[in-house]
Amino acid sequence: MSQANYDLSDRLAALRGRAQSFRNAQRSYIPSEMSYLILVPTLRCNLACSYCQVSRVAERASGFDWSEETLNSVLEFIQNLRVPRLKVEFQGGEPLLALSLLKRVREFCRANLADVEFVICTNLQSISQEAFEFLSHADVTISTSFDGTQDLHRKQRMSSDEEMQGFLSNVRRILARYGPNKLSALPTLDPRCLPSADELLDGFFEWGMSSIFLRPVANYGFARKAHDAQVISDNWYQFHQEVVTEMIQRNFQKGTHFEDYYLSLCLRRMLRSDVNGHVDLRNPNLLGKDYIVIDYDGTFYPTDEARMLTRTGQIDLSVGHVSGGVDQNKLNTLNAYSSNFGDPDCDSCRHQAYCGRDVVDDLSRYGRIDLPRSETEFCKRHLYLFGLMEDLLESPDPAVHHSLALWAGIPDWDPILSKVTQ
């Protein structure tokens, strides 16, 4: 090797090291300010789904809405954030049962923030004319639950056919008036009672929706009492793979744009080092920095899951009260374990760079966070997802390439992209 070549390869190696450091730093994402608030103005709900994840009380129960004092503290909290833009998600219970609170928050935000959007998580069960007017504004999007097929939805959530018709007619009304971008639908799938891949995709396609967050019934809140979801069953993985395979075929043959939202996120995190926007998958996964939950009684929680765990009495994960501020000490304790760096299992795992950590998930399943990583569901689930993605990346099938390009957001797939740069 000539001297000149030797110098060049030295230089390349040095630059590669710098590039690696840059990518590591970019992936070690530390949010700079609050950008997302999850507000629970009421716990009251007009449905009683068997696996309710968002702990609820009866529609006419009293004492489960924000008091005037709590509302004012919430508005003051928003004011003091001093951020130019914010996304506000209304959760419940059924938030539309507390419409007057929603309106006051919205008016306040519009008056005090340059750029604000609202997401209403509603069961779309009964929408008053006034609520419909509230939803119609351009800065509002709607998130609802749809269990993939009407049969399953009816069975899992509804107590009568009339209820089901109410839900369906509200969905149709919104889709007809605003198109599919106004509404997103999250399926809650029970591994013991899954639809077929075809049925699921047909159901979403009918509504003009192609991005589906495939997730099994969660292990939070009241979900845990009724369902044995502590272990995500093999059923689920088999089902997931069938759905993904069917998505790939349909995308290639019928020109649809189906994706599993979370699998696409995994792909983008493997390909790029700047995908840190999703709170379910990042490293470190710092709590209480860029989003926080305020419950019906003004209590802060780092995540909606933490709120449910606390409510079911498993562990107290509250982090302060909106009248007195965030409990930084408690957050710091949780955040001390927010990274997968330094964990012996993770440090030897080839997926470490783009994987993440979820302390609350560990607590909910095991009541502890010191289990060997490789024994946690979080780890098993992500090993499966990244493994599936690696298989897809290695596939020579043009149908697979077609979907990979769709999911990565580019016109065509390129074989060079199958080589993942860490």
């Binding site: 040095a14 016109p411 390129d414």
Partner: protein, 365 residues
């Protein structure tokens, strides 16, 4: 074409005049410099301006010149329009000297150099609010000391301005790192050409042995600063086959670059001389350019097409094309009349020639 020089009369003696033209009296933070020349009358093609008892005339319409900064040497018959207030494409030509000889260079280097930093400094300070000012050459970093001083001093006066410096990146030294960490450089975007990741291909195109290796040194050095970096690549016959490998290289080795400009050739200067040898017709073979775009975007590098008329780009890739050609050297052809893409299209260079240009081109429904 918009004039960068204006016929002038009236400035007979004294120093080179650097002045701001104003139609009505202004009282802003620039006026205190005492360099505002106010419109007195428009007589036919000539606009007359004065300050105290000194009068000058410029050939042009006052409404087009309002807020412009001009440079007028004594007894000269024309003025440089250093800053055009209504344009997004202002640039300062630091020098015409260069240490590279790129095959597609649109502005071939000259040996002579005239130092105009003092005028440039004034022009920047008088520029409109939030202006982006291009710094070009030749190779502006041949006068690195003066250039850094200009950027630092202007930033102290006008932190709202940002600079877009076109440099071959052959002149950064380790001792510059501390300077580059100054906040003034947060407002600087360095536009650095890389033609291929194969050293011999890049070196041949820029006409300088060892240029690629020097680039590697520079990128290593810039990685220790917060420098904003744009990579520029002109697509040509001699590098087009290397585009996918270049995309792989940039995304693997230079992830701190924030954008990649993939450009079509400009038929002027050496670009005209070497047109037949180097023009690569992306309208008939877009495959490699497409791969470059997919690899870059897949890995998060924002790659854009510059100087690609939309009708030459497959529809799935048109979203990456930027209407980029500077206002003063942009034109549309007769067949563009009524084209459905005209509003989003960047058009053609003034010196584009249909006969020797793209084969698959023309009107879109």
């Amino acid at each position: 074409m918009i004039a960068l020089r204006l016929a002038a009369k009236g400035h007979l003696e004294g120093e080179t005049l650097v002045a701001r033209l104003v139609t009505t009296h202004k009282d802003d933070r620039v006026s205190f410099l005492g360099r505002d020349y106010q419109l007195t009358s428009q007589e036919g093609a000539w606009a007359y301006y004065s300050r105290d008892d000194h009068a000058i005339a410029l050939r042009g319409k006052a409404e087009d010149l309002d807020g412009d900064v001009i440079m007028l040497p004594p007894n000269a018959s024309s003025a440089h329009r250093l800053i055009r207030a209504n344009s997004q494409h202002n640039s300062l030509l630091i020098t015409e000297q260069c240490d590279q000889l790129c095959v597609m260079c649109s502005q071939p280097p000259k040996t002579k150099h005239t130092d105009m930093f003092a005028a440039f400094m004034l022009a920047c300070v008088m520029a409109p609010q939030d202006a982006v000012i291009g710094i070009t050459g030749g190779e502006p970093m041949l006068y690195k000391e003066q250039l850094f001083a200009l950027l630092l001093q202007v930033h102290a006066e006008r932190p709202d301005l940002t600079f877009h410096v076109l440099t071959n990146a052959q002149h950064f030294e380790p001792e510059d790192v501390e300077t580059l960490k100054s906040p003034a450089f947060n407002n600087v975007l360095w536009a650095i050409p890389v033609f291929a990741a194969a050293p011999e291909v890049h070196d041949r195109i820029v006409g300088k042995a060892g240029a690629f290796e020097q680039l590697l040194k520079t990128f290593d050095l810039l990685s220790h600063t917060f420098a904003q970096i744009e990579i520029r690549t002109v697509v040509m016959q001699s590098n087009q086959a290397h585009l996918a490998a270049l995309a792989d290289f940039l995304t693997t080795y230079i992830p701190f670059a924030s954008q990649w400009s993939i450009m079509q050739m400009e038929k002027i200067g050496y670009g005209r001389m070497n047109w037949r040898k180097e023009f690569f017709d992306t309208s008939t073979d877009f495959a490699m350019t497409a791969r470059a775009l997919c690899i870059a975007h897949g890995r998060g590098l924002d790659a854009r097409l510059f100087n690609f008329p939309l009708c030459t780009v497959p529809s799935a890739y048109q979203r990456y094309a930027v209407a980029s050609i500077s206002d003063w050297k942009c034109k549309f052809e007769d067949f563009c009349e009524g084209c459905g893409l005209r509003d989003q299209c960047g058009g053609f260079f003034e010196w584009y020639d249909v006969e020797s240009g793209f084969e698959t081109i023309g009107y879109y429904e």
